[in-house]
Amino acid sequence: MEYFLQNFPQQLVNGLETGSLYALIALGYTLIYGILEMLNFAHGDVFMVGGFLAAGVTAVLVHGGVSFVPGVFLVLLMMAFAMGGTGLLGVGIERVAYRPLRNANRLAPLITAIGVSLFLESLVQVFVSPAPVGLPTNAFIPQAALRFGNVETPLTGVLLFVVSVALMVGLDLFVFRTRFGSAMRATAQDREAATFMGIDVDRVIMVTFFAASALAGMGGVLYGLRFATVNFFMGYLLGIKAFTAAVIGGIGNLRGAMLGGLLLGVLESLAGGFISTEFQDAFAFLALIVVLLIRPQGLFGQPLGDRA
């Protein structure tokens, strides 16, 4: 019990950090699902590409000897570059692999998504690196840990949490408070009717993919900053977990995805910290299965469109 009390706050903070990353990726799954009702299997790999874009920016600026770049500026540049790059990548993927299948059966885009995922992984493995690539974050980010009582976390961990939450709130406002957001919700609810209302559905879908992919790209940057390393395989398991988080929260529901992500992160951290690191994932998934069996529609199961 004493052990538990001593370690609980730190493990909770660890879980919230991991969870905010899951949540950020889960938002993308849920956005795309909400609008198109398709599982974007390649989403985890878009996240991976975001991490590599961030690594590329640092490689060019830091290794290239540009030492006068202030840290804040570099981080902002990384974020802008990675979000823009992955956003465009997302739009491109939608255009090439999903749009031709918009009226096909539901599992066909699932397979093209798997194809895209395989393609991106192979591409990075072959043309960038099969081994993990490091980011020299100490060159531009203070390394000191922040301490609150006996809980501590590095600055990049706080950054991960704060930026994720800010983006989630921003997305929520965008979807529920803006005119374009209501077009998105209308499209989610009934694509055909939205067309009749004069909504340019293609544009809505494009913007959705851009936003979801840019969030994933930002996730990649934050991941790279926090863990100072990226690898071509990092999108795979993280993608599965983020998807799980999205379903737990009630897929199609933005706030559900956020809470689902945080919940999964915390569950994992607690299972690893107090039960066993070997069975960490098993216990986290077991807990989720139990949650689903008790509440079959997900914790906040109400799709995007129903909340108009």
């Binding site: 991991t18 974050t137 100072a228 690898n231 395989f233 398991l237 070997e278």
Partner: protein, 398 residues
């Protein structure tokens, strides 16, 4: 082994080679006999989640074959290389091996790299007629060579050599409480078990945790380490997880060399971990079942050649086994070269008997297999991270 003994070995080996050549021409056989076709295979996880160890090894083997062919191949016949990407599954491995088993011009395999894959396919290789020999560069499980198969050879050290050596090293360094970790892979789990057993036999308290392949978030485990109060962290791994792990240790206030010590294993002797971890790795130790070519004088030319072939930063992506993969290929190719050519053919049986009897001249010095197929006197190398380099501290014999 010292440098002088290496020179002696090399001299003996070259004498032996010369004698073989002389014997060939002196006997009734046709000394200039040229085999019609010689193939070997490279097997390992070259793509997929284990590509970080496989891709570099394959490039090393390709380079070894190229170098060998540039020197004339097998009596003038260039060796062609089959690429078997087993993706770390026994199923795919066996299908690919079927290609070699039925084709008598496939004379041997460099690999398979994962112990589990070796154990899952060795039966078929042994049962082939003639049996298909392999020289693995990384499979360390004791059963690989303990099962009495004539086809099995490895140039790396065994778990039961490395585990106790690592445990002894920890105790010699004064470890009081050890965090033992593995990465849930063929190599790391068995090794961590062996080390853990040594520690528990010597009454050193330990805590066991498992990372996952590709894991980068170690905050949960680090909190457990702090709570446990370990003074040493032992992380059996193939390298990819080390940099983020030690970076986060430092961020969490565990500084290697100050309030904690770190012992890694193969792949964790990679000096790029020091830069990838932004210096957090400075002061860490790592033990290896294969030598890192970058730290061995006789392999310097090979490292240069590898960089010339694949680019300046290729070594940092090559994984832990790019040296032993080249070594294993050299061994297999020399055994094939030493085997007699009869009617334009080389028999796999002869390759196996030459693997058993000959001494091979490799980038790491001379290599000779014992009756099981393990390298005689195969060493465990201890590296220490000093500044931006990994320095070989000593070689513990296996």
């Amino acid at each position: 082994m010292g440098k002088s003994s290496y020179l002696v070995f090399a001299a003996i080996a070259s004498l032996g080679l010369a004698a073989c050549g002389g014997g060939g021409s002196g006997g009734g056989g046709n000394a200039t006999a040229k085999p019609d076709k010689v193939q070997i295979a490279a097997e390992g996880p070259f793509t997929g989640d284990q590509a970080s160890i496989g891709a570099g090894a394959l490039k090393a083997i390709q380079l070894a074959v190229k170098d060998f062919n540039n020197k004339g191949g097998v009596h003038g016949t260039p060796v062609s290389l089959l690429i078997w990407d087993d993706q770390h599954t026994a199923q795919t491995a066996q299908t690919l091996q079927a290609q070699g088993i039925s084709d008598p011009t496939v004379l041997g395999i460099v690999g398979p790299m994962n112990s589990g894959v070796v154990l899952g396919s060795v039966q078929g290789l042994q049962a082939a007629s003639p049996p298909l020999p392999f020289v693995t560069e990384s499979a360390s499980n004791v059963k690989v060579t303990d099962s009495g198969n004539s086809v099995a050879h490895r140039v790396n050290a065994r778990d039961d050599a490395q585990g106790p050596a690592d445990g002894k090293f920890l105790i010699d360094q004064g470890a009081k409480k050890v965090e033992v970790m593995d990465a849930k892979s063929d190599y790391s789990t068995a090794l961590a078990d062996a080390t853990q057993k040594y520690l528990s036999d010597h009454n050193i308290p330990f805590q066991r945790d498992a990372a996952k392949a590709g894991q980068t978030d170690f905050s949960t485990i680090i909190q457990k380490i702090k709570s446990f109060g370990a003074d040493w962290v032992y992380f059996a791994d193939e390298g990819p997880e080390a940099a983020p792990f030690v970076t986060q240790m430092k961020q969490a206030g565990l500084t290697i060399g100050q309030n904690i010590n770190f012992l890694g294993t193969d792949g964790e002797e990679d000096p790029t971990i020091i830069s990838k971890s932004q210096g957090a790795y400075d002061g860490a130790y790592a033990t290896n079942i294969t030598a890192d070519p970058a730290g061995v004088a006789s392999a310097a030319a090979y490292v240069t050649a590898y960089k010339n072939e694949y680019g300046a930063d290729s070594v940092s992506q090559a994984g832990p086994f790019y040296g032993s993969a080249y070594e294993a290929a050299q061994v297999l190719l020399q055994a094939i070269n030493n085997a007699p050519v009869k009617n334009g053919k080389i028999s796999r049986n002869d390759v196996i008997s030459h693997l058993a009897s000959d001494t091979f001249n490799t980038i790491f010095g001379s290599v000779k297999f014992n009756a099981k197929g393990d390298v005689q006197g195969g060493g465990i190398y201890v590296y220490h991270a000093e500044g931006s380099n990994m320095v070989v501290k000593k070689q513990v014999s296996g």
